[in-house]
Amino acid sequence: MKKILPLILFLAGLNQAYSQNPLQVRGNFSIEAQYYQEDSAIAAVVPDEQIALQGFGNIILTKGKFETGVRFETYLPAFVGYPAGAPWEGTGIGYRYAKYNGDKLEITVGNFYEQFGSGLVLRTWEDRGLGVDYALDGIRVVARPIDGVTIKGLYGKQRFNFDNGFQNGDGIVRGADVEFNLNQLLDSVINFKGQWTIGGSFVSKYEQNRDPVYDFPENVGSGSVRLKYQRGGFQIGGEYAYISTNPSSLNSNIVDIPDSLDPSVGIFQYGQGLQMNTNYSKKGFGIGLTASSMSNMALQSQRNSGPFDSWINYLPPTSVLQTTLLAQFYPYATQPNGEVSFRGDLFYNIPKKSLLGGRYGTKLEVSYTHIQEPDFPVVDDFEANRKGIEPTLFSWGDDTYYEDFNAKITRRVSKKFKASLMYMYIQYDNDVVLGAYDYNNNPTKGVVFADLIAFEGSWKIKKGHNLRFELQALFTEQHLQDWFAVVAEYTVSPHWFLSVVNQYNYGNADGDQFNFPVVSSGYINGSNRISVTYGRQRAGVFCVGGVCRVVPASNGLTISLTSSF
């Protein structure tokens, strides 16, 4: 309480000073508890405490142009496999800030989340479900001096872990960003035939070099430029980023070391990345193309961070995030040391009352993703277990890291029944991506080739009552071989839901053919939700954006309560 007392006093003061603006309070909280059971068949993990409880509560107070907020977090202990990176333990304050929100000037002190452009050089973000929190702690100023111009500056340290309160890492992060909307800015001078946005960022980090052998750079600078154009349903945009030499475990560090040289004087390489996208759409039709290439693009505020810690920038995977149960077996994670990727998307609404569209119309969604290894001139430095590349963009290597094709049609068959059918092909190099796990919680070897078919039906039984069901089958010779999944979900709007899910590894010729049944039920009232889940969870990877969390197998009961106010 000591830490928030000044905040309360501060607000009490503000309350006096600006009594014409009422104080508004809002926020949200989430509490989850899990009871773990032994289940040795699937190598289920049971923590010493047997019960895990984690939760958080955000409270935000606003009064006129002033805003302040605090988040309490508790992990007693955290769930098995949570968070994604360095441990979060105990209970305390995870985030607090105060902010002035003026028309042309915004100042934040304390913790904040920020994004420059698409995030290639800076994006500090959070995902509480994953256990990811890259909040900066310092000061941020955003100025909008005239229409069409946004200038941002920030300086701070970054959250590294949680030990009865958030703990910052050693590094210091500094950044500035400027963005111009040319239409707003040059409104009176030029009449553009579309919307132009251009921007640029500079970000640097400082961290003392304590390494006795390697001469790591203490200051690392990075910069990016971006452009976006839109006219009607046409958009094109891109961002290029450059990072000065930044040796880390995720970047490839050493290139072409002559035999006579000690590895400690190896050549550290810079990093670069380019992302481009164009799309065109009109009513009932949309098409998009994305191309991206990365080389040595890992930028973390702490040199000795794990793969999920202290990220300053954000490298999203090019593949589409799949929410179909069995498709989640093979999630792609961006390879920061180098990759070349392409994606195409198509959306089409076949008109109603046409031959193919049917009475209510039919929706078609197609996407294709290909991600390739770059042409690495690889040099292995076995002693330090590092390898290096020349940081080129769009050079084509031999290995396909990931490929998927998926198509989905959705159609309302009658007033009461809506159905969809999805097909997906996946090629997944698990030696590189390391996302597919066996029953001993270890990644399997080799490339997985899989086909997936999923059918979903949604049937309105009577007013407010709905039954949704899914049948999914995954066919592969690799990993754990064939799977079948059934989902049935009964909802009574607006309050109740009950769902039953089973995943069955029927085709596993080399091992046990396990079932993974889960029953879940809940009650929702406005913004409050309580749910109870019981069952077996398979080992796997839980991903959001560019970060994936490895979740070991478990068996047990989970109770979850969330609320917004």
Binding site: P22, L23, Q24, G27, N28, S30, N58, I59, I60, L61, T62, E67, F72, T74, T91, Y113, E114, Q115, S118, G119, R123, W125, E126, N164, Q195, T197, K228, Q230, Q235, S281, K283, F285, I287, Y314, P317, T318, V320, T323, D345, F347, Y348, N349, K363, S458, K460, K463, G464, H465, T491, V492, S493, P494, F497, I524, G526, S527, R529, T562, S563, S564
Partner: protein, 166 residues
């Protein structure tokens, strides 16, 4: 430190129970982007004195798309009858943002759409998960909110909108 969470929650509940009686909540100030890249302050959202729906969604969120697609089927009628406007806030990040405009057009939605790229607006509205729907009355007060989506929830939302007009 042990009881911090408990203290905070009771503190929050106390404040919200006190403030709920006399203070109506309005839309907080945060910066979102329109699809053509212009910055927009959320406290400027308005619908000329008529009700507004603010819906948080993402292209990767299946129930979100179900909700907005189901509302799209009746949206024209809703607008004719009540003058309501739906503002869809996409929380898609750099991974899927380029799919937002093609998806919206491909789905023939007529909503006003903004992108909350680093989830600043989501945070300031206290949203835990998507989908999350808010109903704002003609004077800008948040009068109702609902988390999650089950088919039929849109009927309850429409009743609330009608309730605002009477």
């Amino acid at each position: 430190m042990k009881y911090n969470l408990l203290l905070a929650l009771s503190f929050a509940l106390l404040i919200s129970s006190v403030s709920a009686q006399d203070v109506k909540k309005t839309i907080p100030s945060a910066t979102v982007k329109s699809l053509d890249g212009k910055s927009f302050n959320t406290s400027d959202f308005n619908n000329d004195g008529k009700p507004m729906i603010i819906n948080f969604w993402a292209t990767w969120c299946a129930p979100c798309k179900k909700e907005l697609n189901n509302i799209a089927e009746v949206y024209e009628d809703w607008v004719d009858e009540t003058g309501v406007k739906l503002i869809a806030i996409s929380i898609d990040d750099a991974r899927s943002q380029s799919r937002v405009l093609p998806y919206i057009n491909g789905s023939s939605w007529d909503y006003e759409v903004y992108i909350d790229e680093n989830q600043d607006f989501k945070r300031s509205m206290g949203v835990n998960n998507v989908p999350h729907t808010f109903l704002v009355d003609g004077s800008g007060n948040i009068v109702y909110q609902h988390n999650n989506y089950a088919p039929g929830d849109e009927d309850e939302l429409f009743e609330k909108i009608i309730g605002l007009l009477n």
